[in-house]
């Protein structure tokens, strides 16, 4: 959604209840209680596979309901016929879950490839499956601020490919790098990105964010 046009102003409701309808509370709790039928990455991918027109015209908890039904059927916990017989067919996903062969964790990934102050570029990749690399940041240059340690790779974990943990970094991008010269010069966007989403920029490349590297190297204004 980052950077998309056309959604208008943000509507702020005062004294908003936790749930607006009982069914919202029920689907929220159902999904938490039924987590064994899909990890968070599979759930997110199921939400992303709701056909786009339907996604855009559904409320937040309607999307949870769709995704839960998609997952329960795909995981074999319930049969599509059982839902159909109660007249609650789930939507047909826009694409299949694309199961990957499970691969073991790579020991080499325990070592961080980047460190604070490194200049990186968010890779311009467009995977067909699940990813947590926001579209608006692809191809943009940033600076590594922090190494958060290793986390399951969503691009694999959403597809049954195993957790294959790798380092996740807090990466800072200048608003101008992302949105162009009209963006305020001081503003920044900080995103948490898996190592596979990043590559090093050439040595001596112009810094995208002026920030003092902790190591003191590469200091350049």
């Amino acid at each position: 959604m980052g950077g998309m046009d056309g959604f208008g102003a943000v509507v702020h409701e005062d004294n908003e209840p936790t749930f607006h309808f009982d069914w919202e509370a029920r689907i929220f709790a159902l999904l938490l209680a039924c987590r064994p039928y899909g990890n968070t990455d599979e759930l997110r991918h199921a939400i992303e596979r709701i056909p786009a027109q339907r996604y855009l015209t559904s409320s937040y908890y309607e999307r949870w309901l769709d995704a839960m039904q998609i997952l329960l059927v795909e995981k074999g916990a319930i049969l599509r016929d059982e839902l159909a017989s109660r007249d609650i067919d789930p939507p047909t996903p826009s694409q299949p879950s694309n199961r990957l062969q499970k691969r073991p964790a790579e020991a080499s990934r325990a070592r961080a490839r980047f460190r604070r102050g490194d200049r990186v570029i968010a890779r311009n990749i467009n995977p067909a499956g699940h990813t947590r690399l926001p579209r608006y940041i692809r191809g943009k240059r940033g600076v590594i601020l922090r190494d958060w340690g290793t986390y399951a790779l969503p691009d694999s974990n959403a597809h049954g490919g195993g957790e294959r943990p790798q380092h996740v970094y807090s990466v800072a991008f200048k608003a101008r790098e992302v949105w162009g010269a009209n963006a305020p010069s001081r503003d920044t966007i900080h995103i948490d990105l898996w190592e596979d989403y990043l590559e090093a920029t050439r040595p001596g490349a112009k810094a995208a964010v002026n920030r003092k590297p902790a190591t003191g190297r590469g200091k350049k204004q």
Binding site: D5, R26, S59, Y60, Y61, R132
Partner: protein
């Protein structure tokens, strides 16, 4: 807008009811467990938790330092935990930096300290604009951030969940931690508001 919760067709209610009944018949869910989950998020987990964290950070310099270094541990010590709380990060507003939290990919949010996100946080409008036009968006929230202040937007794209530590307002030097917690709002911990000093009338005696 169609994503607005007020225009949700009743079809969703019927579908959820039927799905719950089916899962219950199959022994896949326990209705009592569902009630417990709902009760927790309606009555126990909420921004009052985060407000206590902020109030303590304002009152205790050592705590503040530890919170900024490792919010997950510090918040767990206060008894707040659960889903979406495994990797908490506290980011502090200063005279030079204003922090704003969004999740452009879905609606990631620090549940243990803020509860479930409000509808606007989950809206397409917020998710699309917070990264691209944070200043315009904040103006709609009634917040004008001076040009010389950096707006630092945190897009929660991985496991880290962000809690903004707003600036402590002037005129609160005599307030204790409990009183301070009362004035910290949810929106100030997302970054769409600042904390205002208590009005004289409403101030605790």
């Amino acid at each position: 807008m169609s994503e607005n919760h007020s225009s949700v067709p009743t079809g969703a209610a019927l579908r959820v009811k039927a799905l719950e009944a089916l899962l219950e018949e199959k022994g896949l869910v326990d209705p009592a467990a569902l009630d417990q989950i709902i009760d927790a998020y309606e009555n126990k987990v909420g921004p009052h938790n985060g407000a206590r964290v902020v109030a303590r950070a304002w009152s205790d310099a050592t705590f503040r330092k530890r919170l900024l270094a490792d919010a997950t541990t510090v918040v767990a010590e206060m008894g707040y935990g659960g889903p979406e709380g495994g990797h908490l990060v506290a980011v502090e507003n200063t005279p030079r930096v204003h922090n704003l939290v969004v999740c452009t990919l879905c609606s990631c949010y620090p549940w243990p300290v803020l509860g479930l996100p409000p509808a606007w946080y989950k809206s397409f409008a917020y998710r699309s604009r917070a990264v691209r036009d944070p200043r315009g968006l904040l103006k709609e929230f009634g917040l004008k951030i001076p040009e010389q202040v950096e707006i630092r937007v945190w897009d929660s794209s991985a496991e880290q969940r962000y809690l903004v530590i707003p600036r402590r307002p002037l005129g609160t030097a005599r307030m204790n931690e409990d009183e301070l917690a009362e004035i910290v709002t949810r929106d100030s911990m997302i970054g769409t508001a600042i904390v205002k000093p208590p009005s004289r009338k409403g101030a605790p005696a």
